[in-house]
């Protein structure tokens, strides 16, 4: 029964999306055609949206790792109350729904938001608000993805033994050397898992880009929604979805593989 439901709700839609965009209805019945994809890749607006999504993904992924790796490293070796506090804070965004986050974002960074108030109080000029620019979704998605990335990285760092770190220190390795030669080589897989999650998450992000992002070009999430609902054009919306699937294929496969490897009791 659950398997049937999954087949109906997951596998069939994907299959029918791929088939439905390749076998198009013509006058003489159904025929193989890549017309919708040709349209997608010849339409400058679609391409801009795709590029914006890729750009956002890249920027968020880089910033996320740059921010979360130090936090995770700190948590790995930290003890005591301060460590617990940092951990609690890093995981907290998981319990803030993205819709509340968008609202908070507008109230803080939006025009005349809290940051403007504070800057104004100390007689500094207002910021150029990232609200409704490509940086809006970047900041929102970054915030939203911190907990998962930190959790994955900390759990990955757990596999680096204290003994190996200490051994390296005993022979005089500095902090950076320990990071570069001992910790990072063992973290490759974890980094890829974290990256897969980020990529999959951003390609399917809807709320944050929809509320915080610019109207044009827009990220794939809002683009699909608008094509489907406002333009009433399911065919092209599905084409966009399949394009998104294709871009995420590698990361999706990697995700399944790494979960398969980590499954307890296998």
């Amino acid at each position: 029964m659950p398997v049937l439901l999954v087949v109906w709700l997951v596998i069939w839609p994907i299959a029918s999306a791929i088939i439905g965009t390749l076998w198009l209805k013509t006058d003489s019945g159904y025929a193989f055609s890549i017309r919708t994809y040709q349209f997608f890749f010849s339409d400058q607006y679609s391409i801009n949206n795709l590029l914006l999504t890729l750009w956002t993904t890249a920027v968020v992924a880089v910033l996320l790792l740059a921010f979360c790796l130090p936090v995770a490293l700190y948590l790995r070796f930290a003890r005591g109350r301060l460590g617990a506090y940092v951990q609690a804070l890093a995981i907290f965004p998981m319990f803030v729904p993205s819709i509340i986050l968008s609202y908070a974002f507008i109230r803080v960074l939006g025009p005349n938001g809290a940051l403007d108030l504070l800057l104004n109080a100390v007689h500094l000029p207002k910021i150029r608000t990232p609200y409704l620019t490509p940086w809006g979704p970047v900041i929102g998605l970054l915030w939203d993805n911190i907990p998962l990335t930190v959790l994955i990285l900390v759990s990955g760092l757990g596999s680096v033994s204290n003994a190996s770190v200490e051994a390296a220190r005993d022979v005089g390795a500095g902090r950076l050397a320990v990071l570069w030669y001992i910790i990072l080589p063992r973290l490759g897989n974890t980094l890829l898992v974290a990256l897969s999650f980020t990529v999959l998450g951003i390609f399917s992000a809807f709320t944050l880009p929809y509320v915080l992002g610019p109207a044009a070009p827009e990220m794939l999430g809002p683009f699909m929604q608008r094509t489907f609902k406002d333009l009433n054009d399911p065919l092209n919306a599905i084409t966009q979805a399949v394009v998104a699937f294709a871009f995420c294929l590698f990361f999706g496969l990697f995700y399944v593989r790494s979960v398969a490897k980590n499954r307890p009791g296998r």
Binding site: V3, P13, Y85, I91, N112, V154, T207, A241, A244, F245
Partner: protein, 274 residues
């Protein structure tokens, strides 16, 4: 950690820096929302509201659309959670305990839903629902939200059932307990807390699910997050959104309290393949 690292106590500068940074980045925006919810008057140049009060709480709670959306969200979440529990828990038990052909293949078909960008999947489903005339209906939204909970309700209970000591079940069976009795008295009490957490998480997850509800339900089925989007986009009175945010947050806080158990035990991170 052994003595070599702990021997030299020094002020934890990195820790302090991280806590200050995270406090500003994570707590401050939420504090601002909180302040807005209790501000009767807050005009531009002032750093704190000119007048605090509960006026907008009364105003927001007097709105019919707010109550309709809350009621719709609760009905949807309860339906989806119950359905996914009824469907998934027996399946989870089967995956954890029984051996049957294609077991691994079936198990990974559950993962497939999460190996694709979710919104693309939702659009593909919506296209099918369009032909089935499920767009804009209660059950259409229920079905699309079920996609999100299925994995949750399979994955966490499977590890919960696997954590139950098989020998205890066998011991109970040896002294003559029937299978149902074994399940009720041995398996369930041990797996119970984790399963309760899974149910709670899927309830909360459904409560906050925005994309599917927006794609399938709007404008006829308006859940609380969907209402929140329209407040953000079209509502000139800022406080309505702030108050609704605070109300929206309640289930999440409850989840936070309960989920600490699951996160603490590490089962959660394992579920994400870390």
């Amino acid at each position: 950690m052994t003595a070599t690292l702990a021997a030299k106590p020094r002020p934890d500068v990195t820790g302090i820096a991280f806590s200050v940074l995270l406090t500003i980045v994570i707590i401050f925006p939420l504090l601002v929302v909180c302040t807005w919810a209790f501000a009767d008057v807050w005009r531009f140049p002032s750093v704190i509201p000119q007048q605090f009060g509960m006026r907008y709480w009364y105003a927001t709670l007097a709105r019919v659309d707010v109550w309709n959306a809350l009621w719709m969200s609760i009905r949807l979440s309860v339906t989806v959670t119950l359905l996914s529990a009824v469907i998934c828990l027996p399946a989870a038990y089967a995956f954890a305990r029984l051996d049957f052909p294609f077991r691994n293949l079936l198990f990974f078909s559950f993962l497939a839903g999460h190996a694709f960008p979710k919104f693309g999947l939702l659009v593909a489903i919506a296209a099918i629902f369009l032909q089935l005339h499920l767009i804009g209906t209660f059950w259409g939204v229920v079905l699309i939200q079920l996609v999100g909970t299925l994995l949750f309700m399979i994955w966490i209970p499977v590890s919960a059932f696997q954590a139950v000591d098989k020998r205890m079940e066998e011991a109970a069976r040896d002294v003559g307990a029937r299978p149902l009795r074994v399940f009720w008295s041995i398996t369930l009490p041990q797996a119970g807390p984790t399963i309760a957490a899974a149910i709670l998480l899927s309830f909360v997850g459904t409560f906050y699910e925005t994309e599917g509800a927006w794609l399938i339900g709007a404008p006829r089925i308006s859940t609380t997050p969907v209402l929140m989007i329209s407040f953000i986009n079209n509502q000139p009175v800022i406080q309505y959104g702030a108050v609704l945010s605070m109300i929206l947050w309640i289930p999440s806080i409850v989840a936070l309290i309960f989920a600490r158990r699951v996160i603490g035990s590490g089962a959660f991170a394992r579920g994400f393949g870390g």
